[in-house]
Subunit: 637 residues, 2 copies
């Protein structure tokens, strides 16, 4: 594996991390025994898996869709991560079976795509802008890397190297090669993964080629259009023909190094930014990295829901102008929050700044986790921050990107917790369990135990094989206003050793050293920037990393009539029976009262308010009871 | 003229009313010298007038539209009202010229419609649901009645009687006649006008026939569809095919006497309700009148903007569910507010209850008057209650119903001020000038003088030819919380003589009797019913009949950040230089301040506020300065 010398740390692979956590372990197990089998069944029953048999013939229903391959790929990736952390012979066998189908679908030249092999073979590479060929290839590459790392089996990896080699022969700057970039980014980050696992620099260069093709004049998507029929370019025209030709929908408005504002389809954008960060760090491309930082600031400071959801508009499944964050009409696709986690993790490794981990955690516990039901069988595609009671999770979608995406995130959660570098060990997330790392030439087991996210009291044990000098870096979350730290029982002064959001304890560690970190976790009232019009005069409640919401199930009144006075006492109570066990927030608010209103629609007398005891629950757990209204932002005084 | 025995009073015709008013006289003059000529030019230049020459041939542009006739008809009506109150030989001649064209367009059988004579003659009466034939006929009838009453000339009246006779031969319950009702109501109220001016009961019966056809099972519009091609029924299917066949768009969901909720296209609904009230009162149909009362309550208590605008949705140009009154996305068509005035006036004559006059006044000074610019040359079709600065009046519209509608309203304003009955004289609106009435067999001149709507001090002089006993009924507006009354200098106790919103001074009146009414007119904070979600936590400012708004021109800040504390002092100041001379409201509010916000999108520290001096102006006068934001509802504490 090539060194990734330009980043400050590297994530610790899930194969070296054990999660034993009150919050996450049941979710990971549900993911393994419910979600992954459920998604396999869905892929099987909808024809997505058997489509790789290439037996489709004209007239047969269903017709494979050109994004089907990616759903199966993400399922393989999720299942592989699961297998990596928990042996499961049946799943192992099933993976081999599916992978074998995929391998056999590969064409003699290395090409591998169901739709453009059996349905419209003459249209291979004809519409990169809209037809998801390179996107599917990217997900299959990610699946191959995950399966190889989980099992050591090279079958899919070899297949995908052949496919990638073929793609690299078609696209590129050399004579006889062609221009082009994927309309839906994904292969860029996948090729860097393939480079890292194979050491073959060609894949990194191909990733950089695709990234550099973006934003050229004329646009590769405009050049492509010249060869497309009206019928075949219908979607392109729909998405690109906006007061003139405009490919900002797929981040093609400017060369990537000149980009400063997140635009267009949010998942496309996030996947691109992941690939940009990867290529930047692998090639030492500072201009590309600076663009990543600018785009990051734009997303996080102007275009992100408090839940970590991004992409506020249904129209483009993506970004609009700064501060345009409607609540009920929020799009905030589950995949976009997940992809923000991917990007955050990449930026975090590069920058070693906890602000990236803060966003990773925010999206993880809120806007991404909301995407899956507590029982692991239903999914949100769209994650609004207010509902009239009509928005519900579904078992599957025709466009089924979100279900396997959340499955692969949960199955790979271990890889987000720790990082290691030559002289430092980092703890980003407080999730109980342990990991085996290599720091300063020493094997170090780090264990942590807490009731996070419900409690901020965290015990960390450091067990180097032998005494060794290195830095233990513990994240002080951005949401935490008061933290304390003790080493082997002795209080430490955090402020003197805190840097970029991490307290660093640099010393010669002895086996059995114990660190205790206490993160004060009161209920907080969050306000949004006044430019967020809908949230003016409203607050959201958060505690630790968790964002709360009001649900009608707890508050059988019109939720928009609840007013939270500034001095209202707010109490956090753990309720084991509620929604799988959650902390709920209770408090005394006011309720706008209409009992003294008669028939009149307008009047001079102010509307009365009366005391109202409300309960708020974690946002991620909403929509599990009698359908009803939901609101994150609460009217306040 | 037949007696309309079932109503408590009758409006006083404009020919007997003289307006000499600081607020209205300049508007009526602008209407005469600017708006009516402007609208004539628009009708002329767009081909609407010359279309009556019937010279259109296939291939010629523009193709007459099937609603064009109605625009010319409403212009004739407006011009006739203007002529009735102010001699204008040139306008008189122009009217004759246009009327002559129309007369010559009448077919031998009496039929009169440009589109279905020259463009698609084979489609006469084929699609009553969508093609506006009867709607155009209705407006031409109204024009004919207005022109006859203004000038005594029978030319257009005779033409329209012939047309109405022909329509009455085609439609009806008798053998050889056909079913059908207009998709856009209008002819119902017009036929009652024609009945009242001619005394021919056939027209009243035809109006009742059309009203009774509505809401039958199967729907007349469904039966009609069976004979229409796919192409010809495109609009019908668009508006009627909503989870099954649903003609609530044109109030055809239930028989009219069973209706209780205002549904569908707002102008259609209002015109229907006018026709229902007319037929109810002329035929003594109590069930029909009860339906009018129920519908009235539904509109006014559940579905009306504070401006008197109705029909909140752009999708159906009409009603949605109760309390759905979005501000920025309000539709609130000018025609609908005008038609609410028409309906209010009818209900007022029947019921003698000031709540009808209150709504008439509310719509007149706000949601209708906003429809025309101060210079009389530009018009709103849509009247939102909030704007980001992109909504502006236009000189004309392809569908130009609103401009001539506001012109005919202003030209006929005199007829809304007074009513008379055998023993009573009513003053509904406080507009300076005088009227000559017949009460108790005596000629009575009533004069009033005030600075209304800016001031509530009103002087009324009663001058019977000779001493006569009758009741003088003066409206105490619903907006007025404190009124005082003096007769010839002696204070009177209002509460003992107030009934249904009118103070009644019944006595033997002597020439020169003077009444002084003082309506206290403080600035009021209005709140909306808590079910109006967008207005929760907001107040609107009103003073007298005038609703105010914030405009960016006076308040160069994000208007949604202005907060009005409950105890803020509010001052009304007349500003002669502002917007043609208006009272403006000034006060000390708070402004949500973002100067201590850095880059962050969310934070725990509450957002600061700072004092802010704001100015509000009358809503009707908005959009006359540098384009910018506007808001009626102001955030409040």
């Amino acid at each position: 594996m090539p060194a990734t010398t330009n980043r400050k740390m590297s994530p610790v692979s899930i194969t070296r991390v054990v999660i034993d956590d009150g919050f996450w372990s049941p979710r990971i197990e549900t993911n393994r025994v419910v979600t992954i089998p459920h998604e396999y069944r869905q892929c099987k029953e909808t024809g997505r898996i058997d489509a790789f048999d290439l037996t489709w013939r004209p007239g047969v229903e269903p017709v494979p869709h050109y994004f089907w391959d990616s759903d199966v790929a993400k399922w393989i990736e999720a299942a592989s991560y699961s297998l990596a952390t928990r042996p499961d012979p049946e799943l192992d066998r099933l993976l081999d079976e599916v992978i074998e189908k995929i391998a056999k679908a590969q064409q003699p030249d290395g090409y591998l795509n169901v739709y453009f092999t059996v349905v419209e073979p003459e249209k291979r590479w004809k519409n990169l802008g809209m037809w998801h060929e390179l996107y599917c290839a990217g997900h299959l590459i990610e699946a191959a890397v995950a399966h190889y790392e989980a099992t050591g089996k090279r079958r899919l990896l070899d297949v995908m190297c052949r496919y990638a080699d073929y793609i690299a022969s078609v696209f590129g700057p050399n004579p006889g090669q062609r221009y082009g970039a994927p309309g839906h980014e994904e292969i860029e980050l996948a090729l860097v993964k393939l480079y890292r696992v194979t050491g073959n620099r060609k894949y990194l260069e191909l990733s950089k080629f695709f990234i550099d093709q973006r934003g050229q004049k004329p646009s590769v998507f405009q050049r492509e259009l010249e060869h497309l029929s009206d019928e075949d370019s219908r979607l392109n025209r729909y998405f690109f023909d906006k007061n003139g030709f405009d490919t900002s929908y797929c981040q093609d408005h400017l060369p990537v190094r000149e980009q400063s504002e997140a635009v267009g389809h949010a998942v496309r954008a996030m996947y691109l930014y992941c690939g940009m960060a990867d290529v930047a760090v692998e090639t030492g491309d500072e201009a590309l990295l600076r663009a990543c930082r600018r785009l990051w600031d734009d997303v996080v400071n102007k275009k992100m829901y408090i839940t970590g959801g991004v992409g506020s508009s249904r129209l483009n499944e993506g970004f609009t102008q700064a501060y345009d964050l409607p609540n009920k009409d929020a799009y905030a696709e589950t995949c976009a929050a997940i992809a923000l986690i991917f990007w955050s993790q990449r930026m975090l490794q590069i920058e070693a700044d906890s602000r990236y981990a803060d966003i990773m955690e925010r999206a993880l516990y809120n806007g991404a986790l909301s995407g899956i039901s507590l029982d692991g069988k239903k999914f949100f595609y769209v994650n609004p921050l207010a509902s009239d009671g009509t928005h519900h999770r579904q078992e599957w979608f025709g466009c089924a990107c979100c279900p396997p995406n959340i499955a692969r995130l949960i199955a790979s959660l271990g890889s987000y917790i720790y990082s290691e570098s030559a002289e430092n060990l980092y703890v980003h997330l407080y999730i109980s369990g342990h990991a085996d790392l290599n720091i300063a030439g020493t094997s170090v087991r780090i264990s942590q135990r807490s009731d996070y996210p419900w409690d901020g009291d965290i015990q960390i044990e450091v067990e180097p094989d032998k005494a060794a000098e290195f830095g233990l870096n513990l994240r002080i979350p951005g949401w935490c206003r008061k933290a304390s730290l003790a080493l082997n029982g002795a209080e430490m002064d955090i402020s003197s050793i805190c840097n970029a959001g991490y307290v660093r304890i640099h010393r010669k560690w002895q086996p059995g050293d114990m660190v205790r970190l206490n993160l004060d976790m009161p209920v907080e009232r969050v306000v949004a920037h006044p430019n967020v019009a809908e949230n003016l005069g409203h607050v959201a409640l958060s505690r630790g990393p968790i964002v709360f919401c009001l649900e009608e199930a707890d508050n059988p009144v019109p939720l928009q009539r609840i007013i939270l006075p500034r001095d209202a006492k707010l109490t956090a109570v753990f309720d084991e029976q509620l929604l799988g066990g959650v902390v709920k927030i209770q408090g005394e608010a006011l309720l706008i009262d209409d009992t003294d209103w008669g028939d009149e629609l307008y009047r001079f007398n102010p509307t009365a308010v009366r005391p109202y005891s409300f309960t708020a629950v974690p946002y991620y757990a909403w929509d599990h009871r009698t359908p009803g209204q939901m609101r994150v932002w609460i009217r306040s005084l």
